[in-house]
Amino acid sequence: MSSSPELAVSTAGAATPAVRVREVTHVYGNGSAAVTAVGPIDLTVPAGSVLVLVGASGCGKSTLLRLVAGFERPSTGTVRVAGEPPRPGHSAGLVFQQPRLLPWRSVGGNVALALRYAGVPQQERARRVPELLTRVGLRDVARRRVWEISGGQQQRVALARALAVEHPLLLLDEPFAALDALTRERLQEDFRRVTAETGRTCVFVTHSVDEAVFLGSRVVVLTSRPGRVALDLDIDLPRTGVEPDELRGLPEYAALRATIGHAVRSAAV
């Protein structure tokens, strides 16, 4: 059911894991209105891995991510990021499920703000904003108003904004859910390549089994509310030196998809 502890040790060595979630439960509200959204759950994410969380709607994926980001405190148990209690804005970069852009700033201004908080000087900001927007496939939108671009474009701006600050840990909540198939594939491929090259630790939430297999070095399937680990699977696919189409054509790929798809379906009931 859960991943072999030997494997976590083999990838992380003796180093502190990037994320450690121990016996965590999270309860929203109190009294008769109390809702247990998550747990009890144990998860260890070694540095350099890409953990993908899959689960039905409402199973607590966003809550788990918010716990790791430090926006929620666990009702019981502990959350550690690089050995410390998480602090919003300091422990990890975060892409929310909704774009959450500031409407009083232009598209470019939203990205520039993140750079400004990171202490990047003004001139360099002007250079890096278009660079970051291009990275998520957006051109000539920097001066536009936030409500003048589409929902998918807004989500990509939010992604660019989160990428502006290079935290060793990146948390992403369904960042590609609102995109057309073509753009999604492009960004998935880009994401896969960049994570493999930089070794940045990521926790990635998605509904899509295919996306999970394609992006993850490890996939965790959560049960429906309260979210617990239903399946914890390492993805032993080559991370570099393989074309995306080639990868998707591998028999192991199809097998992993089937296993995870089955787990998602049985966890949802």
Partner: protein, 274 residues
């Protein structure tokens, strides 16, 4: 085929604006006719002056005739200018104070608890009620009038600002905190900008209150000033001048509100989109 043009017509902004204008002009014409009719039926110009008489007064008070300059030695435009200047200064002081107080009230809990009843108390008072106090304290010249307008303009801005600052959406506050924003950055980049639409509504209210208070403030030593002019006219039963003064205040009020609304559209293009 036939449906398309009928659907398209209301969407045409030019014709819609044209219709709005025609509607307003029509309404004004109807009111004028009703006024003329009532005046004719009443046959008592001290009670209801003829529109024509008010028009004559407008010309008379706007020019020097027989060596007399305007009304009480000042042209109508000068009376209006002095009143507008008082409104401007009073509103600026009141709005600035209200903003400051509102931000503090919205962010510091115990200050809100202490000041909220005081602000509500002052807000409930008719400005004339504390005007007498200001006259005792500050004499009868400019000072008590400016104090009155400032104090009258402050509460709506303070209340609007405090509630807007408190109501900052958690989603956006979290968004910038996730990027590493500290307390001050959250205030500067989220709390204040998102409060602007509500603050602006408070400002428009405040200017409106300053407007309605100025005539009251100018009943004491108010010449030059529209309020002073109206008061003198009332003493001599010059009803046409009273009506003229009312028009001057009301129409300039409309113009100022239109100005504020334009400024609002410019400054807050995201209004209704957040």
């Amino acid at each position: 085929m036939t449906a398309a043009p009928t659907i398209a017509r209301p969407a045409n902004p030019g014709s819609r604006r044209g219709r709005g204008l025609a509607l307003r002009l029509g309404a004004i014409a109807v009111l004028l006719v009703l006024w003329q009719l009532t005046a004719t039926v009443m046959r008592n110009p001290t009670f209801i002056p003829y529109p024509e008489a008010v028009w004559d007064r407008l010309i008379e008070t706007s020019t020097t005739h027989d060596g007399v300059r305007g009304y009480s030695g000042h042209l109508l435009i000068e009376h209006l200018g002095v009143s507008l200047r008082r409104i401007l200064i009073g509103s600026v002081i009141g709005v600035a104070g209200g903003l400051l107080l509102g931000v503090v009230m919205g962010t510091v809990g115990w200050i809100r608890v202490v000041t909220e009843p005081v602000v509500t108390f002052v807000r409930a008072l008719p400005p004339l009620a504390y005007f007498s106090l200001f006259i005792i304290w500050f004499g009868i010249d400019e000072a008590p009038k400016l104090w009155l307008l400032s104090i009258a303009a402050l509460p709506p801005v303070a209340v609007a600002t405090a509630s807007a600052v408190q109501g900052a959406p958690a989603t956006l506050v979290e968004a910038v905190r996730a990027l590493g924003a500290g307390r001050w950055q959250v205030t500067r980049d989220v709390v204040l900008p998102q409060a602007l639409p509500e603050i602006f509504t408070g400002i428009r209210l405040a200017v409106g209150i300053a407007y309605s208070s100025v005539v009251a403030a100018e009943t004491v030593n108010g010449v030059p000033g529209i309020g002073g002019m109206v008061r003198d006219a009332q003493r001599y039963s010059q009803t046409d001048v009273v009506v003229l003064g009312l028009f001057a205040i009301g129409l300039s009020g409309l113009a100022i509100d239109a100005l504020l609304r334009t400024a609002e559209k410019r400054l807050i293009p995201w209004r209704g989109r957040a």
